[in-house]
Point group: C2
Chain length 423, copies 2
């Protein structure tokens, strides 16, 4: 048997076990699943030392392999981060149980009573990269919605993920649920990802990829199962002629600089040409003063000698860094046109005191999240009040925007009659 | 340029035109789209003779090619069928406008006001086979929800589809909307389907396949865009020990024989072993008397010499014909187990007067539609009160059960603030 055949066999077994475990989950109570979540949180705190030891192995290997500072930071765990994971699981437990919720009900003239009822999606495969906390967050979110999870973490965080996964299994088992409710792919061979994307269609209902562009590209190319995508966030702030300058300043700085590495960080600032004299210079100077590199069009370059001339590439750039592209546009229509051309359908914001202009922007900008007079950094399930999330979907299909517990469900129709037949 | 390159070029142009048209649709009013729908209905009636002439060309070719009776019936149009198409379009016009509906709204402690608002899916590709009325139904449903449609009908119905599509364009244009809101793929070359499935990911948001197993298999293999699937309906009726025999008789006959060729037709009858003496023989004899072939297990064969012994294959069979497989099972648990093993997650019904048993069945059978004391033939968007539908989805993702206008939409989040920034 070749390695690939052995991996295929392992993955098929994981798939069969997940389906069997999900069948048990689908008839479990929300109370039982919450007990499992609380037991997971307790287990994470109990085994903190073991998790940290496993993480140290990963960190040593990563340092030896010459990983960059940002990647090392994503990989590293400490007591506070483990405690944050445990608290995150408890917060998921505190969310309302989505399963069994009646989403709609109605009665037809023939007396048939219809209900649309929330049910689990089934078996969810999650393919992610170096952050070991995704093992915990994704496993817990799937469990809350009675889905079985098959987790495939990055090779750099493999030992950390194994240690965290042991806690997930301990918690699930303590609540009397099958271990296979949350499985971790035991191999770091990339062939396992290929199996999840295309070889396990009988077992996996949905794939959630969490990672960089090369992972997303691979998923789009290979996947034979539905995918909840999570593409780049090329977010815009448009400052309109009717914007309050003080509010614009505060929103632009927050949207760009609060955290530059999140998908809701603003990458491009569009300023209404009609406000060029009043608003452009103060905003650009504030950004420069805050340590942000500014790449601008001719008008922006004229503001300050530190502004770098922008190229076509800059309007396409998701910097995820303290860099911003700045451009004058011809009013709200110009902003809408620019965003339609360069945006990534993620999150875009308008700053204006003119309600009609705001409503035009909110209606015409076709992004998952559109905001009026608020920072793009609110693009986050927690800030939406949805609790934990597995990412922000830029798909139009199934789930758009933050993907929380509810987005990890499907529904069925329950129809109650008294002998009706169809004429 | 090879034929394939020429087709690819044609399809890319169709895709670009669809995206541009959809942008206009996305800011159209429901009233304008309804005007287009009414104009389409009028145009279908006005050009009835031209549609019938085109259909005659298709029918002659199909007869010459030796198509079977059922296929010819699916292909044939007459005045009544054209009128039914026109009425169907008017019924779609009468449905509430889904676009812009606020699905949920809430305010966060920081004062941000959130709305989840229904928006179109975008550009929908529909790949179907011989029924020419799908050209009309699918085009009208997409239009209602402000989606652009790219229609690819079967080669047998190509002339009929061209004639119907001309009416769709006439109606769309009369309402001042772009012709490309509803496009028909001009070639019957199969390469065009390949383009829709994998070569137009920049333009097509969703594919809806309508057809037999070979089409579905091709879509599953090749699609690089989301798919609203429509698999087989292997529907079951389970007659419980606590079933009223008269009700069971009426539901079983209707579920199997009202129309045998629809996906909601029952294919397997499961009878509670505890009711074998009272219920099995009357049900089997009624089916035989109604002209239905019965393939049964040993107990069923013992009822009547006309019963054919069932093989393993029969429990897997979607006959779509006057044939039924019949089996004794060990109570509701036996029925649930059989359906989990052989069912297609489409539509399944229990007949019983015992409410607790019914609720067990409704909760445990994991199908898109589960019914209590009603015929499986109610698996239909119209019977659900949803109006026209494009099919019954057996997927768990995005849309499950009847796919009507609402299922052809997505949503976005609109967030209104007063200067909020994220701490």
């Amino acid at each position: 048997m070749t390695t690939d055949e052995a991996i295929a066999q392992t993955m098929q077994q994981l798939g069969r076990d997940a389906v069997a475990a999900q069948r048990v989950l689908s008839i479990s109570s929300g109370e039982q699943r919450n007990r499992a979540l609380h037991a997971i949180a307790a287990s994470l705190r109990l085994h903190r030392a073991a998790i940290l030891a496993a993480n140290e192995r990963d960190m040593s290997a990563a340092i030896a392999a010459g990983l960059g500072r940002a990647a090392l930071d994503r990989l590293q765990l400490d007591a506070a981060r483990i405690d944050a994971m445990a608290r995150g699981v408890e917060e998921i437990a505190a969310l309302p149980d989505p399963i069994g919720t009646v989403l709609a009900e109605w009665t037809r003239p023939n007396g048939l009573r219809f209900q649309r009822v929330r049910v689990p999606l089934g078996v969810i495969g999650i393919v992610y990269e170096s952050r070991p906390n995704v093992t915990c967050d994704a496993g817990a979110l799937c469990l809350k919605a009675a889905n079985a999870a098959i987790l495939r973490g990055g090779s750099e965080s493999h030992h950390s993920s194994i240690a965290i996964h042991a806690c997930l299994v301990e918690g699930v088992s303590a609540a009397g649920l099958p271990d296979a409710c949350i499985q971790l792919v035991p191999t770091t061979d990339r062939a396992a990802v290929g199996q999840m994307l295309a070889g396990m269609t009988d077992f996996i209902d949905v794939i959630v990829p969490r990672g960089g562009k090369s992972l997303i590209a691979r998923v789009q190319q290979e996947a034979r199962v539905p995918v909840i995508g999570h593409l780049e966030g090329l977010c815009h702030v448009y400052v309109d002629r009717a914007a309050n300058l003080e509010m614009a300043r505060s929103i632009v700085l927050n949207a760009k600089l609060r955290r530059t590495g999140v998908c809701g960080a603003a990458e491009t600032l569009l300023v209404d040409a009609a406000a060029a004299r009043t608003h452009l210079a103060p905003l650009v100077r504030e950004l420069l003063a805050a340590g942000c590199e500014v790449r601008g069009d001719a008008a922006t370059c004229a503001v300050d000698s530190r502004v770098v001339p922008a190229t076509e590439q800059d309007w396409h750039a998701e910097y995820l860094d303290a860099i911003i592209a700045v451009k004058l546009v011809d009013g709200v229509q110009g902003a809408i046109g620019h965003i339609a051309r360069y945006g990534s359908d993620h999150t875009d914001s308008i700053v204006t005191d003119d309600v009609a202009t705001a409503e035009t922007f909110l209606a015409r900008v076709d992004s998952a999240i559109v905001l009026h007079n608020a920072s793009t950094q609110f693009a986050d399930g927690g800030e939406f009040g949805m609790g934990a999330e597995i990412g922000i979907s830029t798909d139009r299909f199934h789930a758009r925007g933050p993907v929380g517990v509810e987005q990890l469900t499907s529904y069925k129709y329950v129809v109650r009659g008294s002998g009706q037949v169809r004429p």
